[in-house]
Amino acid sequence: MDRLNRIDRRSLLLAAGAFAAVGPAELARAQAAGAIKVATWGGSWRDSLDKLVGESVRKAGGSVDYVVDTPQGNLAKLVAARGGNLPFDTMESGLELVQLMAADRFVADLNYDKLPNAKALPDFAKAKNYVMTLGSMDGIVYNHEKFKELGLEPPKTYSDLGNPRLAGKVAFPDITHTQHWNAVAGLAYEAGASEADLLKAIPLVNKIKPAYFYSASTELSTKMAAGEVWAAPWHAGFVVRLRRNKVPLSISYPSFGSKKGSLWPVLHHIVRGTKNEALAETFVNAYLDPETQLAHAKATGVLPISRAAIKGMVDDPENKGVLMLGDAELDNLFVVDFAKVKLAEWRNAWARDIARG
């Protein structure tokens, strides 16, 4: 026993010595290269991002941490930190925030010379202060077994969610959630309007009378898996991810006028004033690498922006049949034109005119 104790103490001393020698050296190496914080979504998205893209930063001798929230929540953090320490160095966002961020100069102009992987991207993906990395394919996610039990056809339009037999089982993306915009734009189109007049969607949302307005996909995943929710405007990625856990989900893509299905482009910015610009560029460039794009897209069920990576998705057994991957289909996807959306008016109406409870 005494010998065992001596060994334990010796091991402990050795371990402490090794830590004392290696720990600070590692720490110093990381500090020399820097440490960046990336603002992104949580759950399996963050995990995949860290595994596939974060590795590039670690290989460069730096470290990467994540600030997990919706893009809107992360923008609020950036605004709150105005003039102080930046809460993160790069961030993912959506088209609804671009104008706001650019107008207030929260995001830096990108130096594409430092992002060689961007060369393979289509021109529309490369903007002055953001680069499109991926896109979620939005539609109506539904539990096909429950629909079969009820004798219901797969939903063709967002308005189909107002079927009385689905009462209490439909969730709807709240205004803080990324998937909100395609869903309300879809309803506006179904009401004979467009994203220029989203107010037309209000009566249809009230007719659907969602049981719950979700603000995080992780939260909705739990409810879908538990059978608490049977249908929701969401994105194809969660069909792919939840099917891995044997949740019987399918997706249907409603029409937006002549367009079918909708894309939500995921944008990446480098935050203005970051002290880790080189490492932030390393991260963004790694994100645009076609192989990384393909691996991340396969893991999360989203659409890579790189056409080379899209080709790799076509034969993927998990994503095939869930995502629309044909060239004609991709060209016919609807994307919200935020130049037409009256954001303040819509936010006000969403708070006041939606029937709740």
Binding site: G73, L75, L100, T176, S215, A226, G357
Partner: protein, 287 residues
């Protein structure tokens, strides 16, 4: 005398910390509420009461204030009704087992609100035990979540351990001999409760109820997670104003009005309690 002075100094230190951590930020918040929102965290430079006027004349905001107050008051009252008998049993029990129960109660008070609320979502969800039981009895499979009822349950759960602890202390101060004397005099249990226990614990009940009410008025997590976006309360609205609209001045004005409202209700109840007619009326109402 020397001891007294060192105690005073210790209080002074606590006061200073409170001043720095609570009053100063509140002052900046209050100041911001008087300026116009210019968007993205920027505010104007001309002070006015515009934000307050807008809120106080808008039926939407008034409705949200009313909903928050109503839910908080109902949850505090339900909490009192559950906590009082529990606290009485704990306070009057001579069993050493009771000490263990009180420790358990203390532990539950320290459990994170998120954990508590997630427990409730499982319990009240359509796959939970309550819905399963109801389904077997009625055939209906409705979830009990995402409405005002769910939020009220969450608020009761949030404040209940504290209410029991507060009332436990109150009931312990009532001499047991008074109950024995009433029993010897032939008082029924109900009469004993009405004529002895409730009047003697009345002030403690009001204080505990007000503390629970104050906590409920500021509760955010229960309203967000159990309300599921269907129940807009003032704290939820403040969060939306900051995160969605990045409108700090209106968010600040809402927060100031919420604090003033809570303060006003507390002062009102305390004043009513101190006035002889008000106190007797309140006692009669309680009894």
């Amino acid at each position: 005398m020397g001891n007294r002075r060192s105690y005073d100094l210790a209080l002074l230190a606590a006061l200073l910390v409170s001043l720095v951590l609570f009053v100063l930020p509140l002052f900046f918040f209050l100041r911001q509420s008087f300026y116009e929102n210019l968007g993205m965290g920027l505010v104007g430079d001309t002070p006015s009461l515009r934000n307050y006027a807008d809120i106080l004349t808008d039926p939407f905001y008034l409705g949200v204030f009313w909903r928050t107050t109503r839910l908080s008051a109902v949850a505090a009252l339900i909490g009192l009704c559950i906590a009082y008998p529990t606290a009485y049993v704990l306070a009057r029990s001579r069993s050493s087992f009771v000490r263990g129960l009180i420790v358990l109660l203390l532990i539950t008070a320290f459990v994170s609100i998120i954990v508590k609320v997630l427990g409730l979502t499982v319990l009240m969800g359509s796959q939970g035990p309550i819905a399963t039981l109801l389904r077997s009895l009625t055939g209906s499979s409705a979830s009990m979540l995402h409405n005002e009822f769910a939020v009220a349950v969450g608020l009761v759960q949030y404040s209940l351990p504290l209410l029991v602890m507060l009332l436990f202390g109150v009931i312990q101060t009532i001499p047991r001999s008074l109950e024995e004397a009433a029993a010897v005099g032939g008082a029924s249990d109900w009469r004993l409760m009405r004529r002895v226990l409730l009047p003697l614990s009345f002030n403690g009940m009001i204080t505990a109820g007000l503390i629970a009410f104050n906590m409920n008025m500021g509760a955010f997590t229960s309203a967000v997670l159990l309300g599921g976006g269907n129940v807009l309360t003032v704290p939820v609205l403040i969060q939306r104003k900051i995160v969605l609209d990045v409108d700090y001045p209106v968010a600040a004005a809402l927060a100031v009005l919420l604090s003033l409202g809570v303060f006003g209700i507390n002062v009102g109840v305390a004043t009513l309690r101190r006035s002889p007619t008000g106190a007797s009326r309140m006692r009669r109402a309680t009894a």
